[in-house]
Amino acid sequence: MRLRTTLSLGVLGAAMIVGTVNAEVRDIRIAVDVPYEPMEYRTPEGELTGFDIDLGNALCAEIGIQCEWVVQGWDGIIPGLMARKYDAIMSSMTINEQRREQVLFSDPYITPPSAWFAPADVEIGTPSEETLEGMTIGVQRGTLQDNYVTDMYGDVADVNRYATADDMVLDMDSGRLDAVFLDFPIGKSTLIDSEAGDYKVVGEMITEPKEYFGEGFGIAFRQRDQELADAFNEALATLQEDGTYDEIHSRYFDE
């Protein structure tokens, strides 16, 4: 375990890694927030796996650099990038204007919509201010879904904010939530396809307005790391052409 090896050096000072910073394309650290099945999650043994992980590793191999994955909670993930704890974020992050002010995005590598999910026995019409009035809605804290729900329905519904998508699923299972608003593939994998509980998708797939839902998921870099972003964009184009991308895609999504 990484923590313990740093620790076995004994001295607290040794827990701090001192290195230099330079601008060329080099071995990098990529942050990811788990679990967010099927995009990124852990096996019971603790191995990271998922679409982002496999695609990220393939991209790094294509560029010819070593990539190390760093697990970081979602609400600290952008500050961590700016604080140089790691060099990139590949964690189902939607490209939108608000985030663009902070980070530099790669080209979108997948474009999933968001969707409302509810227990099969909860009656909700097409989500709107009237139908959601008085309901308890779950979102992951600091996500675009949080921003969207807070701004659109924050006044009429109770918004429960969770640190991870899993916390939310657990509360949905126990009957504490009337609906959750999630990236569609995650809701499909963790709610619709799961054995526990009986869930349904409510209403349409949501991709508008663009100021919230952006253009799809991108890899985030610090703004000054343009070369790094270019290298990833180039590699992404190559993988999409030679079929590697489709192969990885088919591992996690059935068409």
Binding site: I78, T136, D173, G175
Partner: protein
Amino acid sequence: MEALTTWLDNQLADNSIFTLQTLGYYGEGLATTVQLVFLSLVIGLVLAVPLAIGRGAKRRWVRLPIFLYCYVFRGTPLLVQLYLIYYGVVFVEGIQDTWLWVILEKPFVPALIAFTLNTAAYTTEIFHGAIKATARGEIEAARAYGMSQWLMMRRIIIPSAFRRALPAYGNEVIFMLHASAIASVVTIMDLTGAARFVYARYYAPFEAFLFVAAIYLCLTFAILYLFRYLEKRLLAHLKPASG
């Protein structure tokens, strides 16, 4: 002075974080924190008095369960207790169909139960210690007056133990205020929950957390002064005579 006000004006004009909306979240958070802490302390206190008396009982079957309860609740983190109660109530068979679910569904009551049980355990130990420290002379005097066990408890031991327990109980109140910050973990929008929301939305750790730290600091001082005042009033007889 004028420089200061213009600086403040500029700060407020420039900032996109402390808007009416976020200040509203902080305000509601403050109300939630105060409610949660106040209610758990009051209920905890009511529970703790009989428990503390039972904790020192001669009969083992009274003493032992109370001792165990205190030991477990004081020996494990409140966070773990909160998780157990918040997720645990769900596992009570069929609870979702009873009226109880209406109150347990929201995170407030499970958190209140966890906090109450926790503070009751600590308060029990504090009172138990204070009761044990009752001066022998006071007890002997009460006996000499022919007071029954119960009357002595009510008139002599408990009032004097209350006073002795006051400083330690003041610490417990502050401790509970600080411990309540974990309520945000089960989606309660308390003060810390509001700070986490603001932080996650604006990526501004210093603004979000320093502001909330300042509010907690003010609350702590308010409690501190309240207890100092109470001690001055109630423990006046213990002070060395002046002059």
